[in-house]
């Protein structure tokens, strides 16, 4: 357990962010705060993927000169970065749709607290 904290602190950071995001999302009654939690959770997954590609003293995956190609140990794996570019787009569109829904809910019930909305629906 202790060596995880020592040698893999970024994974601990990921776990804390993920659980914090999910906790806020499930527990907080305020709709906008729920969305903050949601975005935190999605961002923590981006962090997780980026950690997978991290290498010490590595460079970007390009040809430095035309004669010799870089050995695989010398550059960071580009695929997780590219995947996360797509995941960021997905996350942003989810956030956009959910904010639009929050606006529509606010117009209808003039509150952002979920318990008050549930009370007004009855």
């Amino acid at each position: 357990m202790a060596d995880i904290l020592l040698y893999r602190p970024h994974f601990v950071a990921f776990i804390i962010l993920f659980l914090l995001g999910m906790y806020i999302m499930v527990v907080n009654p305020n709709l906008v705060k729920k969305l903050i939690g949601m975005y935190l959770m999605q961002t923590s997954i981006i962090l997780f993927f980026i950690i997978l590609a991290v290498k010490k003293d590595s460079t970007i995956p390009i040809l430095l000169d035309s004669a010799t190609a870089l050995p695989p140990e010398a550059y960071a794996n580009p695929l997780p970065h590219v995947l996360m570019l797509t995941a960021i787009v997905v996350g942003v569109s989810t956030l956009g749709v959910s904010l639009a829904m929050v606006i529509a809910l606010y117009r209808q019930y003039s509150t952002l607290e979920e318990d008050e909305i549930l009370g007004k629906m009855k």
């Binding site: 993920f18 999910m22 999302m25 499930v26 709709l31 729920k34 949601m38 959770m41 999605q42 997954i45 997780f48 993927f49 997978l52 695929l79 997780p80 995947l83 797509t86 995941a87 997905v90 569109s93 989810t94 749709v97 959910s98 829904m101 929050v102 529509a104 809910l105 209808q108 909305i117 549930l118 629906m121």
Partner: protein, 489 residues
């Protein structure tokens, strides 16, 4: 065999989804013909795709000319071809049915309704066809975003259930993505076929186990598997009536497909039943879901809510069938998925038609269907009998093969669960029959007329489909046995 056909199956509804707002901006009347035309075309192409895949082996398409382990590959094989045919035909019927309902309840939102419905169908097609785990995540989210919006598009109570669906759906998608990350970290590939080859070497690692658990958990939220079905009853009840047939018939089946693909094609039967025995757990979860869903449905007064709990119960039955570990059980589960696609579209179609024509939203109100509405009440009768499992409807043959598969596997708890859930289903549908046909007639208002032609014809086609799938069950089961069953059974 390389072919462009998988790409077309996505491109047809996707381009229609883009064309509809552009054309509909000038004249709203064009939306519906474009949507229906695209879906007719899609149905034809998917039938061609299935027949090609069955007769000449799987069709695959490599995007951008990059060969599979590096590039993204789309495949039409037996399973994805069959699902694609079911999705395209049922969504065509559902959109035919939606016509009059959209004009009544979403008259100022016709363009978004058709455009998003086609985007949803395109995304479901992408999920079914893709051979890449990350690509599947992207389509999962496109489809989910379209269905969140379509659930909430009518405003009112549906907005809150759509928001809840969004929150839970995003948790599901995030867990799925995390699981994909674990697989990638362990094997360095995202392609399903490549992953299936590399996984046996690392099957003992904890990363693979954790990844599989995250993926199954994420997909279980998306498919509304009990006890993770929290979003489902509200979303099904308050979604606009024009959208519920599409939502209930195909949207939850496709995450189930993704689970089946990952469990039986990537991991393989022996792995998921012995080395990482998730099938044992899912079998029990499915049995409990089938019984609890049906039990909860008995107490619902709102007709759509009753059907929503009945969907929870059906999802349990599918899971039970897939987890039996016998060929018959797997094929029976798949057959029941196809049957349920038709039955749920028909039942929610009836619910929508009843609200449209005479404002009947509770089970008691359904008595108004009795006179003057022979099409709607026949569809209700046949699809309800099929849900209960009365021969010769499709539901009976689905349940029959499930029971046979469970007996072959000697899993008697599964047999008990299927029979108990069928009896509970019979209880709530017969209670409904009693309200509709056995009570005295003074409640019936004479001015209630039969529904408009699009609703009538789509309910008729669905009813015919339920009977035809039942009577032709040998053909369909033969097709499943011949070209769908994965290796390892």
């Amino acid at each position: 065999m390389t072919s462009n056909l998988p790409g077309f199956l996505f491109a047809i509804p996707f381009f229609a989804a883009i064309v509809i707002p552009v054309v509909g901006f000038t004249n709203q009347k064009f939306c519906r013909p474009i949507a229906l035309g695209a879906l007719v075309f899609l149905s034809i192409v998917s039938v061609i795709g299935l027949s090609e895949a069955v007769s000449h082996g799987p069709l695959s398409h490599e995007f951008g000319g990059w060969a599979p382990p590096i590039g993204i590959e789309w495949v039409v094989d037996g399973l994805s071809g069959l699902l694609m045919v079911a999705i395209s035909i049922v969504s065509l019927i559902a959109l035919v049915h939606a016509g009059p309902l959209v004009e009544k309840e979403l008259s100022d939102r016709v363009i978004p309704f058709y455009s998003l419905s086609l985007l949803l169908i395109a995304a479901l097609g992408g999920m079914v066809l893709t051979g890449d785990l990350f690509n599947l995540f992207v389509f999962l989210e496109i489809g989910s975003l379209a269905s969140y919006v379509l659930v909430g598009v009518a405003g009112g109570r549906s907005l809150h259930s759509a928001f809840r669906y969004l929150i839970l759906g995003t948790i599901g998608a995030s867990l799925y993505l995390l699981g994909v990350g674990y697989f990638y970290a362990e094997t360095g590939t995202l392609n399903m076929a490549d992953l299936a080859q590399r996984l046996p070497e690392v099957i003992d690692s904890r990363a693979v186990l954790t990844g599989l658990l995250f993926i199954v958990l994420g997909l279980a939220i998306k498919m509304g598997l009990f006890p993770l079905h929290g979003w489902l009853p509200d979303a099904y009840t308050y979604a606009p009536d024009s959208f519920t047939p599409l939502l209930t018939s195909v949207v939850t089946k496709v995450p189930l497909y993704a689970f089946v693909r990952i469990a039986f094609w990537i991991f393989g039967m022996t792995t998921v039943s012995t080395q990482i025995p998730i099938l044992v757990v899912l079998g029990w979860v499915g049995a409990v879901a089938a019984i609890v869903g049906a039990y909860l449905a008995i107490w619902q007064e709102n007709f759509k809510r009753m059907l929503a709990y009945s969907s929870v119960s059906s999802m349990g039955l599918f899971m039970l069938g897939f987890s039996l570990g016998t060929e018959t059980g797997f094929a029976g589960g798949l057959f029941y998925v196809l049957a349920d696609t038709l039955m749920k579209a028909a039942l929610f179609g009836v619910a929508g038609a009843a609200i449209y024509q005479c404002g009947a939203s509770t089970v008691t109100d359904l008595v108004r269907l009795r006179r003057n509405m022979p099409w709607v009440s026949t569809a209700l009768l046949i699809s309800a009998l099929s849900m209960v499992g009365i021969p010769p409807t499709a539901g009976f043959f689905g349940k029959w093969h499930l029971v046979v598969g469970a007996l072959e596997a000697e899993k008697y708890f599964a047999v008990t669960a299927i029979l108990v859930s069928s009896m509970l289903t019979a209880l709530y549908f017969f209670r409904m029959f009693q309200r509709v046909w056995a009570e005295p007639l003074q409640l019936v208002e004479p001015h209630v007329l039969e529904t408009p032609f699009p609703i009538r014809i789509s309910l008729g086609v669905l009813t015919f489909g339920i009977m035809a799938l039942g009577l032709g069950s040998d053909l369909v089961m033969g097709l499943i046995f011949e070209s769908v069953i994965p290796k390892g059974f």
